[in-house]
């Protein structure tokens, strides 16, 4: 799983039928410090996340396994909302 921040919602009318009724959110992958990491992506929401929340998401087909249709064509799915993040030693050499 990876950390991300919810930065918006996505609406698509014409999509695969197995994604009907599924909430799509735009998320920005982040580091524990809150710094952005790469480009934003679209993920399905399975926990009821909202704008501005820090979440964690699964990549690959696992991301969609929490949906009512578990084998929907999904490559990222939000699976939890973070309450508290404990990262005592901040990154030193990690200049990714």
């Amino acid at each position: 799983m990876q950390l991300a921040k919810v930065i918006g919602t996505v609406v698509a009318t014409c999509k695969d039928p197995s994604l009907t009724g599924v909430k799509l959110l735009a998320i920005q992958p982040v580091k524990p410090s809150g710094k952005n990491l790469g480009a934003p992506i679209v993920a399905v929401d399975t926990v009821g996340a909202g704008y501005g929340e820090m979440v964690f998401y699964s990549r690959g087909k696992e991301g969609g396994m929490a949906l009512p249709e578990p084998f929907a064509p999904v490559d990222a799915g939000i699976v939890g909302i973070i309450d508290h993040l404990y990262r005592p030693v901040e990154e030193r050499n990690n200049n990714q």
Binding site: M1, Q2, L3, P29, K31, P32, L37, T46, V47, G48, F56, S58, R59, G60, K61, E62, G63, G64, M65, A66, P70, G77, V79, G80, I81, I82, D83, H84, L85, Y86, R87, P88, V89, E91, N93, N94, Q96
Partner: protein
Amino acid sequence: MILARVVGNVVATQKNKDFAGKKLLLILPIDTQGIPAGPELLAVDGVGAGEGDLVVAIAEGGSARQVVKSKNPIAPIDLAIAGIVDIAETKNGTLYLYK
């Protein structure tokens, strides 16, 4: 499998039910020189690892679910800690020694 150091943990109340009762740890992948290789990832703990440990993590869904003994065969888990490293050695010497 990836070699990583446990650097923290995460608390989440609202999460998928397949994560209930499972420990979520922040891990930092490292290379063979011990230098961080990539951003921190969130892994489900299957072995009882703690902060500071060097671990091996499985980044493949099917095997990750097996490691955490998930009751649901389609749990949305994509990364799990499968072992705690005792000794890691490379041609440059000992990378890590469990204390």
